[in-house]
Symmetry: C2
Subunit: 144 residues, 2 copies
DNA sequence: AATACAATTGTAATTGGTCCAAAAATAAAA
DNA sequence: TTTTATTTTTGGACCAATTACAATTGTATT
């Protein structure tokens, strides 16, 4: 899902999702904003345009999207559940200062994990925490 | 923290934690049970022995332990926050059938992550989801 | 012992999310 | 097309996990 300009309706159908108006709008939101939103962010933004939109619908839709594997859940903090419409193998970086989450291109092919032989692995998740460049420079300024 | 038989009291002190009775007992629980418990599991178990124990104390203590970096938080699911007293670099595998979480020994040294140059990385987390051997065999039985 | 400080406790409040039943929309059948 | 069945959406009630907070208890300091 690179969101360059795909037909969302067709894309949903391809993945066995009936493309209702709400579902289309929600998915469009996800590919337009790569900010890894949580349910509330999606709701707040879209409900301006769709005044009758219900939070429950957003929850239901995200659950459905996950089942159909067109979005993945990002659980870096225990307090916030975010979502990502990109399904290719990639990691995330969370800046603990500004709170932003960045996509991180990562090649896990060289990873040696002997212990995994006893498991059937369906999903792999990798994330980092730290301080992003913007925040790091901002911090330095104070002490110069 | 391999828990083989260290002096918990000394260990806490070394990490700048005043070793109160509750803190000692909670940390002992963590290294004895490698089941990656959540707050409630710790509370239920220990409150049998320490009847006055409060859930808030467990929450406070886990927060303190995390700040002092002697436990790490495991956030694989949005619904459960678990903890691990092992601080060496390792990953986790969660079985989506039985719900158990296993430690996974992993070598990330070969990992190529160009995008991380723009960040100061403090923590790295890796986890997998899938089906463990026990559950996999159990499942097969049904269809034979 | 008196005082100060830190840790613990328990209740209340908050939050993020689910449940559920009614209403609305869509699809299928007549 | 109307009627009927099915799916989706909605919103309010509900629930469980976590935090806030003020009172109490415990510990260290003089």
């Amino acid at each position: 899902m690179d969101g360059s300009k795909i037909n969302v309706e067709a894309y949903l159908k391809e993945h066995g999702i009936k493309p209702s108006y709400q579902r289309i709008r929600i998915f469009e939101y996800l590919i337009k904003h790569q900010n890894h939103p949580n349910v509330d962010a999606i709701y707040r933004e879209l409900s301006q345009d769709i005044p009758t939109l219900s939070r429950t619908t957003v929850y239901n839709t995200m659950k459905l999207f996950m089942e159909k594997k067109i979005v993945q859940m990002i659980t870096i903090e225990d307090t916030e559940t975010r979502f990502d419409a990109a399904m290719d193998a990639h990691g995330h970086f969370k800046c603990t200062v500004c709170g932003r989450i960045f996509d991180v291109h990562v090649d896990l092919s060289g990873m040696k994990v002997d212990d995994l032989n006893e498991f059937r692995v369906d999903e792999t998740h990798l994330y980092f925490k730290g301080v992003c460049d913007d925040c790091f420079e901002e911090k330095n300024k104070e002490y110069n």
